[in-house]
Each structure stands twice: as structure tokens, then as C-alpha cells.
């Protein structure tokens, strides 16, 4: 499965309008999933740097690290919401 692998040996125009529509919906869903996964990659990377601060001595997170990772995700989203709210406030007051 390398990047150079060819597309399926079929023409998209062979598909019925209905199939095309379904395929389009499928692509939209997959893109949505990919976007979520990419955010998860970003958050894991960022929160790992904040929460996993001691030497690696086990293959799973300890009782400090796990809640730290969870809080990190929650607080990041809270911050995002706070930024948007404040932006809204600034915009409305100007």
C-alpha cells in the first residue's frame, strides 16, 4: 500500500447517479473521521509533552498521567471555547 498504487481500474462515470451520491457521502464521512483522528494526533502529542514528564518505566499510563491526559483534552477544548466566546464579546462591543 504505497502512495504510488493506482486507483481502482474503473471510471467514476460508470457509476449510477445513486452510487455516485452514496460514494460522495462515504468520502465526506471518511474525511470527517480523518479530521477527528488528526486532531487526536495533535492533542496526544501536545498532552503527552505536558503529562508524561518522568522516565518511561511502564507500557501504560500511571495514576497521575491518565487523569492528566484527560484533563489536558478537556481544558484544551474549554480554552478553545473560551477564546471563541471572548472573541464574540469583543466583536459585539466594538
Amino acid at each position: 500500500m504505497d502512495g504510488s498504487s493506482s486507483t481502482p481500474d474503473i471510471n467514476l462515470n460508470d457509476l449510477s447517479p445513486n452510487d455516485k451520491k452514496e460514494l460522495q457521502q462515504f468520502v465526506t464521512n471518511e474525511a470527517q473521521k480523518a479530521k477527528i483522528q488528526s486532531t487526536v494526533h495533535y492533542l496526544t502529542d501536545m498532552c503527552w509533552k505536558r503529562c508524561i514528564t518522568s522516565r518511561i518505566s511502564s507500557g501504560s499510563m500511571d495514576s497521575y498521567e491518565r487523569p492528566c491526559m484527560e484533563n489536558c483534552v478537556d481544558r484544551y477544548i474549554d480554552s478553545q471555547v473560551a477564546v471563541l466566546k471572548h472573541l464574540d464579546k469583543l466583536r459585539n462591543s466594538s
Binding site: 492533542l43 496526544t44 518511561i56
Partner: protein, 91 residues
């Protein structure tokens, strides 16, 4: 109804659609794996090989292996939490 017909490959256009879907799914999975491997390599190299020597030591290798498992554990925790927040629609 349409989906049922297609999943049994009863019409050729349907199976062509299925080929595309399979292809797209595979590409997504490869991309996903590539991104994870990148992040694991980055973060675990950072963590386990702070002072690179003439070769990877036994303890460094052990650290890399544990770190990899731990990173995937962390990835799953973050994924669960993030999806929970998205589904709560407070984002």
C-alpha cells in the same frame, strides 16, 4: 435496500462502488498508521534517547518499546475523551 444489494455484489456498478470505498478506507488506514508512527518516533526518541551514543543501548531499546505501548495507550485515552466532548456538542 440498495446497500444490501451492493454488499452482495449483485450489480456491477455497486461492486465498483465497493472497490472505491475499500480503496479509500485503506488509504485512510495507511495515513493513520503513518501519522501514529511519526508521533511515536518523535516523542519516544525524545524521551528515551536524550544523549545518542554510538549505538542504541539495551535500556534505550526497552524504553522505546515501553514508550510505544504507552503512547498508544495515551492516544486511546485522548481519542475517547475527545469524541466524548464532540458528542456532548459543547465544542
Amino acid at each position: 435496500m440498495d446497500g444490501l444489494t451492493n454488499s452482495f455484489g449483485m450489480n456491477s456498478a455497486g461492486s465498483k462502488k465497493a472497490i472505491w470505498m475499500e480503496k479509500i478506507k485503506q488509504e485512510a488506514a495507511v495515513e493513520q498508521a503513518r501519522a501514529l508512527i511519526d508521533k511515536v518516533s518523535d516523542n519516544c526518541f525524545d524521551k528515551c534517547v536524550p544523549k545518542p551514543g554510538s549505538q542504541l543501548s539495551g535500556s534505550e531499546t526497552t524504553c522505546i518499546n515501553l514508550c510505544m505501548e504507552k503512547y498508544m495507550d495515551a492516544w486511546n485515552v485522548v481519542s475517547r475523551k475527545y469524541i466524548e466532548r464532540i458528542q456532548a456538542r459543547d465544542i
